[in-house]
Symmetry: C2
Subunit: 242 residues, 2 copies
């Protein structure tokens, strides 16, 4: 089955198309093979949301918008999976939030893959030369080797960072740097989900679309409480499905 | 990170090694890229089990052993993910259950991949020529194209089939053929989990190891009740993790 011959009326047509697109992104060198495994983990938790955005994601999204709009230097840092899933959504969010810079980051960094991803984000509509990541000139303290690399004009000097589908170590290191960290992660139990200041438990494409238009929150938001509510929602789904 | 440089004391060393092995299996042509996504879905549900075998898996395993031992023609049919994860476990189970035949099956079938998988199972210890799958001479009614292909000496004439990590359509088609279907599937909500007669909700390697030594059950087993108990267990894990 390829993306082009999945029937529109297949009950899982969207999910199957995304899977094929992710496989193609591996073949195109945008996504690391283990990124497919991470995608699968997300799929499982999205089943437990009934594949719809929960109210808790809306609340976290409102707080994220408030923080991003109030930031001095906000950054959205997509990795390979994020670019493959929704490069256009990243570009559209950068257009919607004043001053939001885009910086590609990679867990499995190679200069070639960074270059391909920067070009993919530009192809999705980012102004040429606007996407950071190719020439890292700063480091995130506490991370080994290449995973520490970042750009001073992006993550390095950012006060608020939106890092969707982020690795736990890197999320912790960003928090330890004193940055306000927002993530999008379908797994409410992940280290990233628990470490970030604001965790939007939602599928990436739905979350980015919602952030584009969400009004800023009031600042009354507690991430731990919000995550607990999402976990209760998923638990209820598990119990009621049969 | 490669399988060889994952530190032994990393809290997720086993999971990281399995991920790398699955990636290598894709590169070796044993596993389809979308098999990595399926593996990730399994990982997510295994988190919800606390990455240990639940008592419900033991109960389902005992019923599986009872059925396999009482079968006239029992078959274990591994696909690419199953071979990549635990070819040796399949061979060991075939040695433990009298008459259990092995037949490789694939969702994304190519003759080359079937051949590689048969050779991988033989390399894991199956007697040369004992593994079916290369020369299909029967069909599973109700399935389109290559997914229907099977061997008369294996699945075709089997009365009890153990099909771990099985596709929902294929599981339904095997049940419709009148076969007693046992599966191993970490997702208690999947169509396969709900359709099979006996669903062992457990990680593949743990489940195969347990089946090798489990005493046969008494026949008092209800799959729906057992699945509901696993779902409650996962829900509790979601609620109690914080």
């Amino acid at each position: 089955m390829t993306a082009t011959n999945i029937p529109d009326d297949h009950p899982r047509a969207r999910s199957l198309r995304v899977r094929e697109a992710m496989k193609d992104a591996v073949e195109a060198g945008l996504v690391h093979a283990t990124g497919l495994i991470a995608h699968g983990r997300g799929e499982a938790f999205d089943y437990l949301l009934g594949e719809t955005s929960p109210p808790e994601a809306e609340a976290a999204g409102a707080e994220a918008v408030r923080l991003l709009r109030a930031a001095r230097r906000p950054v959205l840092s997509p990795n390979g999976n994020v670019v493959a899933l929704d490069a256009a959504g990243c570009v559209a969010l950068a257009e919607a939030i004043p001053g939001l810079r885009l910086e590609v980051n990679l867990f499995h960094r190679t200069p070639e893959r960074i270059d391909r991803l920067v070009r993919a984000v530009e192809a999705a509509g980012a102004p040429a030369g606007s996407v950071l990541g190719r020439e890292p000139d700063a480091r995130i303290p506490g991370l080994a080797s290449d995973r520490a690399l970042c750009c001073a004009a992006g993550i390095g000097d950012a006060d608020v960072v939106l890092v969707p589908l982020e690795d736990g170590d890197r999320c912790e290191a960003l928090v330890a740097m004193g940055k306000t960290v927002i993530t999008i992660d379908l797994n409410p139990l992940s280290r990233t989900a628990r470490t970030a200041h604001v965790t939007i438990v939602d599928e990436l494409t739905r979350a980015l679309a919602s952030l584009r238009t969400a009004p800023p929150g009031t600042g009354r938001f507690d991430n731990t409480t919000n995550l607990a509510a999402v976990r209760r929602r998923m638990a209820t789904h598990l119990l009621e499905s049969a």
